[in-house]
Symmetry: C2
Subunit: 330 residues, 2 copies
DNA sequence: GCCGCTTTTGTAAGCGCTTACAAGGGGGAA
DNA sequence: TTCCCCCTTGTAAGCGCTTACAAAAGCGGC
């Protein structure tokens, strides 16, 4: 592979390897020497060996990223935010999928530790921080995204699920709806969104018309919506994400209900397709890229010995045509 | 970090480091000794240092993956296929996004080479293989996905764009449509799909009713469809991907055309949302996971000194309600 | 012209692991 | 019992790089 080593550069430039290393890494070297070394290195096509560098310095310039499911559309944006700040700082990263399997997650972490990652970014649900600390005696700096851990003193970046759901529900309320159903999602995000939904209703002195359990997929949303529609008694549905909202569209169509005339719908995520549905879906836009960027900056600042603050990032309510003033109840 | 080294294990087990290394890696060691060493290693929480291993063996057990855009929904599945076979074989991988920027791609490759990846999986459009070989004197085994290179003798895995588009068009033809429009996509995939479309028509002795350029996004599909609908003269549209097909749905709705009564639509990709649109979209299902899996196996076999064969994977036509027998022309 | 100081450069010791090579031990054949 | 061979283990030399430490070289001030 990387044939040319620092030794050959040293020889060709007529200096010692120490000088080459210093010239390459900005150490103290006479300007003329540095220039000569750099020139020779380029001519020879020298490429440093990160493995050797890592071994010698104890720093791998790599951060590990663990996500539950890489197929989510928002994950790509998050990863991009992370990559932007990390690569700008000269760091590489290795990303892997835990698929929500604790055993698998532990194995991935093992492998990342073996690769001497300098920091770990954990995304989404997974083993609690305490469990990690117990299992891995020696852990690099941790940064969490959409995961519990602020209590354990770990910088955590998340979106304001509760507050955003609250605002979405308020939007429905101010359109005159008083009988609102909810299709909830899984895990913490699902619970928080439901909490925001319930709080908005409670403040208005209302009860939820109905709450059905979904699983964040189109199919789950469809099934939940069918169940809900069979019973009726509401004029709007707040689905915990856009994919389930799409399931609602389908169920409503099949049941002969028109959106938004008979039924208003709000989703969560603002996926690419949401703006192009008929009618375009009102939803909450997640700052996914920003989440990644913030986490990346947190990694850098922890590596610099600082203690970054956790943050909860805002979601923007995007009003589209799927919400209308209260019409006939379903 | 990984405090415990092979030396401490050796000392605690009363053997030499060589024996520990052999015990750990399945070298020739007396069974009793191996057991004792393994036990001690576990008790001490020993974790091998991949960097040091890599330096010593010259093999990093890592493969590099470069993709143009990680936000695509199919990419996640492909990555999963790749990861499944690679991690099972004890390989890690580092994935990065080129964002279709040649300079950026070259920089990423540089970094991967510095990390001594044992193989490179290049996905989607990017620098031609010859250019890579010219720029990087020393390149590890290459495997390509959805990218030109079979000519250069590099194992390449792709989906049958042309044949699949041909079949989709045939489906439209056999539903009685004779005036069919196409919204084409970008790059090679776009060209191949268009070619399949044209071939099917030519075989039937027909001309395309119209061909508009799209960019694979909902917005692009929407704009193209509006332009097409303004001129009219067709009863079906074949969009080069599902996202653009969704744009067609929107444009058709706004123009007052009903799908599939007035207009039949076929997409490409079978994204998660496609089955839940109203009406559900007929489309072509891509074997994305399989693509990744095959590429992973190719990597392994090349590392084993073999020469894997390139392959073109089939797409399945999924017939749904967006295609009807020819109705009134738009 | 000599001294002490500040650069600039070289020497060599690792970082943690693998692996040729050699040595020690034990068993079977003679 | 002796010899040979094979199995098991240890010694030590790197892999490519960084970095103390020390030596060399250059400088101004006296």
């Amino acid at each position: 592979m990387g044939r040319v080593t620092i030794y050959e550069v040293a020889q060709a430039a007529g200096v010692s390897v120490a000088t080459v290393s210093r010239a390459l890494n900005g150490g103290p070297v006479a300007p003329a020497t540095r220039e000569r070394v750099l020139e020779v290195a380029r001519r020879l096509g020298y490429r440093p060996d990160r493995l050797a560098q890592g071994l010698a310095t104890g720093r791998s310039r790599t951060v590990g990223v663990v996500i539950p499911d890489a197929t989510g559309p928002l994950y790509g944006q998050m990863q991009r935010g992370l990559a932007d700040v990390l690569t700008a700082a000269g760091f590489g990263y290795i990303a892997t999928e835990s698929r929500r399997d604790p055993g698998r997650e532990a194995a991935l972490l093992d492998e990342m530790l073996a690769r001497k990652v300098e920091a770990l970014v954990l995304v989404g649900s997974g083993l609690p921080v305490e469990a990690l600390r117990a299992r891995f005696s020696t852990l690099p700096p941790l940064v969490l995204i959409e995961r519990e851990g602020a209590a354990a003193g770990v910088p955590t970046y998340q979106i304001e699920n509760e507050a955003a759901a609250y605002r979405a529900t308020r939007a429905l309320l101010s359109a005159g709806h008083t009988k609102i159903a909810h299709i909830k999602g899984l895990r913490r995000a699902g619970r928080e969104r439901e909490a925001g939904f319930l709080r908005a209703l409670a403040e208005a002195g209302l009860e939820p018309a109905a709450v059905a359990a979904g699983d964040f997929t189109e199919e789950g949303g469809y099934r939940a919506a069918r169940a809900l529609l069979a019973r009726g008694g509401f004029t709007a549905i707040f689905a915990a994400n856009d994919r389930m909202a799409l399931g609602v569209y389908r169920a409503a169509f099949e049941a002969g209900h028109k959106i938004p005339e008979d039924l208003s719908v709000v989703g969560f995520d603002d996926l690419a397709f949401s703006a192009y549905l008929t009618p375009p879906l009102s939803t909450l836009r997640q700052p996914a890229y920003e989440l990644g960027r913030r986490a990346g900056e947190a990694v850098l600042s922890m590596l610099g010995g600082k203690t970054p603050e956790s943050a909860v990032l805002p979601c923007a309510y995007v009003a589209r045509a799927s919400v209308a003033r209260k019409g006939g109840a379903v």
